[in-house]
């Protein structure tokens, strides 16, 4: 099969790129080795967070936030997105100082989405929080959505514009012949003028085929979800000096994470929950909400993510081949960025440029440092 662009990876990034490219009239084929959203895109915590991102990501995350506000216009679904804000909790003066420093940095960069709040406002926003916290850093426009619904909405919209998603098509080899990419999968052969690598935790294997080596590490981050509870908290909560991600969803369940790592058998694509590690997570939750002691954990799981050494993605054109591009390595915080990544990649591919500063995300940044 032939098309303008071959996208490898049927996750959220691949779907968003397919959508934006289709909107610009390009034919896209998305090759997915499993089923769309099988790993990180379907199994992440769904955080829509601008708060506390790497400074390099701030221009992207702020623009993405605008797109999320209007996501229904883009994909005909609200993706169950809600915007009750996200807060990083301060438990003491040291925490406050740390968060203040962050707030100052954001301001210096010319942005205003993150601001400090004091104890009074914190307890107004989260009255059920255990007493003793002293304030926090808030991004009022932040929130959360439902990952698999989001992926499906992006995919459906892209498909309605002509994109094709092929499941169970594992890439075996990639070759450039003249102006065209030849991609052999375990199903059939696909060809296209442009190659886009959105293969997540497997993206380094694709990059390798283009003679580009990246120090990507696949990791599975654990999440757990509780039984449904009466509504008790609005904003998504993190903590200045503890590993925590805590949010109550629309249906009353609470999703708890904190970047704890599952045991991963990458070859088998199999993850195992490491319960002794989750003990810390449960302790942290009870530190802030002791009233949740008797709440049942309904499910724990882990999605396989691509983690980069500097925790920011690769968003770049290939340095070795023309007409090849990369967007991967979102290091467990790609969900919120997904709409803008599609726009950026479509811009790079169709116009050869973008308005966003992509220098920090170049693919050869690791080699440069080593050289």
């Amino acid at each position: 099969m032939n098309s303008d662009v071959i996208i490898i990876g049927g996750g959220l990034m691949g779907a968003s790129c397919a959508l934006q490219l289709s909107m610009r009239g390009l034919q896209c084929i998305v090759l997915e080795k499993d089923s769309p959203g099988r790993h990180a895109s379907g199994a992440n915590a769904g955080g829509l967070r601008q708060l506390n991102r790497d400074p390099a990501e701030i221009p992207l995350t702020v623009e993405a936030a605008k797109m999320w506000r209007n996501i229904e216009a883009l994909v005909d679904s609200d993706c169950d997105a809600r915007f009750p804000g996200q807060i990083r909790l301060a438990e003491n003066k040291q925490d406050l100082a740390k968060l203040q420093q962050r707030a100052d940095l954001v301001t210096q960069l010319g942005y205003h989405h993150e601001e400090m709040i004091g104890e009074d406002e914190l307890y107004q926003l989260v009255p059920t929080l255990t007493p003793g916290c002293v304030g926090g850093l808030i991004c009022r426009q932040d929130g959360y959505g439902r990952p698999y619904h989001t992926l499906t909405a992006f995919r459906r919209k892209a498909e309605s514009l002509g994109a094709q998603f092929i499941s169970d098509a594992k890439v075996q080899s990639i070759q450039q012949q003249g102006e065209s990419w030849q991609i052999n999968t375990d199903q059939e052969r696909y060809s296209g003028g442009v190659l886009l690598n959105c293969a997540g935790a497997w993206a380094n294997q694709i990059a390798e085929q283009l003679d580009e080596t990246v120090p990507l590490e696949p990791r599975a981050l654990m999440l757990m979800v509780t039984e449904r509870l009466p509504h008790f908290v609005d904003p998504v909560l993190g903590a200045a000096s503890r590993k925590l991600s805590f949010k109550q969803m629309q249906n009353g369940t609470v999703i708890i994470g904190g970047a704890q790592i599952a045991k991963l058998d990458f070859a088998r694509e199999h993850t195992e929950i490491d319960w002794p590690t989750m003990v810390e997570c449960a302790k942290t939750v009870l530190r802030f909400f002791p009233q949740l002691g008797d709440v049942r954990i309904v499910r724990a799981w882990a999605g396989i993510e691509a983690i980069m050494p500097d925790n920011i993605p690769v968003i770049d054109a290939s340095q070795t081949f023309a007409n090849a591009y990369h967007a991967f390595g979102f290091s467990a915080h790609g969900y919120q960025l997904s709409p803008i990544i599609g726009r950026i990649m479509a811009g790079l591919i169709t116009d050869g440029k973008t308005d966003f500063p992509l220098h920090p995300f170049r693919i050869n940044r690791f080699q440069t440092e080593n050289a």
């Binding site: 089923s35 379907g42 698999y148 002794p276 449960a282 009870l286 002691g293 008797d294 049942r296 724990a300």
Partner: protein, 465 residues
């Protein structure tokens, strides 16, 4: 907590687990048996050590057989960890368990899962109404507390246990308002060729016939070939509606006990990541295993009804076969010794299983029941997802159980899909035109038994090996 690492851990205290533990201990292997209940017996021999004599008699001679198994286990050197719930099991043979509110981790060199069977959940209109229960729940109340329904009961469904429960209730003086058998009448014909072999295990047949004669004699109204079963009522059950010989009938009742056969309890093998197959004859998923019970995961065995339904007697033998293979794998006995010691169990087991092909064909449930044809029937009780919602998403392209789960939340509630996974498989296959094996089984997610945040936070991880 005591010893946290065992050469062999056995999960489940029914016939398979008890006989496996007794045999392994007899050969000097330090093993422990974990079980949810306070005393040995499992579901089939529940309360076998404590039941008052008159009740035990009512439950019949097959039930009494459990006494010998429990005794042999008690007399063995195997450790016993009762009232312990396993909430996690992984491929590295690490177990998360809770006893008396205390969560802890255990590990083993080898594990035999003897998780047994569960009643097949079959969604039908009104099945979630208070007053509609599975027959097994009725049996538990009878075995543990001698409780029987006061105001009569309608029994509905299919399979040997339904008949057995009706017979037990009859002798306990319970008013049986009707027995509604949904087994399709055509099954008589399809099962017929399998009858000669079944006669080799004829005691099962004669018993079934004896139950039927007793029930008829007592004047219990029995309806065969029933369809369109429906439970109705505001807030709780008031009437049971069904179709019999083309006519719709309605019975008043406060209690409807249903039973649609049993299927393997696969939560543990799913959690560990074992491969499972769809068993078309038994209409359920079951873990892959070799003829010693070894699963697709190294060092993990399955024995008894959890491996595929073959009944309590067969489970005893399967438990011993698994234990022998474990002993061999640990080099405690030689291959020849294992084979020699297994001969009798294998013969008995085969003989006992002669009845199975006939039973499976005779009690095949009709597609019209399993595919939940009424759109407004709730399939996932936890998340309140209806058959219609599932069908809509299958038609929308989500023709795989796991995608469907992500999308509808069906199977994501506290029961972890245990109640709905079979129905989902039937609906997805029926609606998409795929074969059931292609629709995929829900991926198991721990915890598979209740675990609270407090229990997890207080879990002792220092001593973990």
């Amino acid at each position: 907590m005591k010893n946290k690492h065992y050469p062999l851990l056995i999960i489940g205290g029914g016939p398979a687990g008890l006989s496996a533990a007794a045999l392994a201990a007899e050969h000097g292997l330090a093993c422990a048996l974990i079980d949810e209940q306070a005393e040995p017996g499992g579901q089939i021999y529940r309360a076998i050590e404590s039941i008052p004599e008159p009740h035990a008699k009512l439950l019949g001679s097959e039930y009494q057989r459990g006494k010998g198994l429990a005794q042999a286990f008690r007399n063995s050197s195997a450790d016993y960890l009762p009232e312990t719930r396993v909430w996690s099991l992984n491929a590295d043979l690490q177990i998360g368990a809770t006893r008396q509110d205390q969560a802890y981790m255990l590990s083993a060199e080898r594990i035999i899962i003897a998780s047994g069977a569960m009643e097949r959940p079959v969604p039908f209109p009104g099945w979630t109404l208070p007053g509609v229960m599975q027959a097994g729940a009725g049996q538990i109340l009878f075995k543990t507390a001698g409780l029987v329904p006061d105001n009569g009961v309608v029994l509905a469904g299919s399979g040997p246990l339904l008949l057995l429960l009706a017979w037990q209730y009859l002798h306990a003086g319970v008013e049986i308002k009707a027995l509604l058998d949904v087994t399709p009448l055509g099954n008589h014909l399809t099962a017929l060729p399998k009858l000669p072999k079944a006669l080799l295990a004829h005691h099962y047949l004669t018993k079934g016939i004896a139950y039927q004669i007793d029930l008829k004699r007592a004047g219990v109204p029995m309806y065969l070939g029933v369809s369109d079963l429906k439970a109705e009522g505001d807030e709780k059950l008031q009437t049971v509606q069904f179709k019999h010989r083309g006519k719709t009938k309605t019975l008043e009742s406060e209690l409807l006990l249903t039973h649609f056969g049993v299927i393997p309890q696969i939560a543990l093998t799913e959690a560990a990541g074992c491969r499972h197959d769809w068993d078309g004859n038994q209409q359920c998923w079951r873990p892959q295993h070799d003829d010693w019970g070894k699963t697709s995961i190294e060092k993990l065995w399955i024995a008894g009804d959890g491996a595929g339904i073959n009944g309590a007697r067969s489970a005893e033998h399967a438990g011993r076969l698994a234990a022998l293979d474990v002993l061999q794998s640990l080099k405690l006995i030689a291959v020849e010794k294992r084979d020699q010691l297994s001969k009798k169990d294998r013969q008995w087991m085969l003989a006992d299983r002669h009845i199975r092909p006939f039973l499976e064909a005779y009690f095949q449930l009709p597609k019209s029941l399993l595919t939940v044809p009424q759109d407004d029937t709730v399939v996932c009780r936890c998340e309140e997802i209806s058959a219609g919602e599932i069908r809509a998403q299958v038609n929308n392209g989500h023709d795989n159980s796991n995608q469907l789960k992500y999308f509808t939340r069906c199977g994501m509630g506290p029961c972890q899909g245990r109640q709905c996974s079979n129905a989902v498989a039937h609906i997805v296959a029926d609606c998409s035109g795929k074969n059931i094996p292609e629709t995929g089984l829900f991926r198991g997610r721990p915890p598979i038994a209740p675990l609270t945040l407090k229990q997890l936070a207080a879990m002792d991880v220092e001593e973990q090996t």
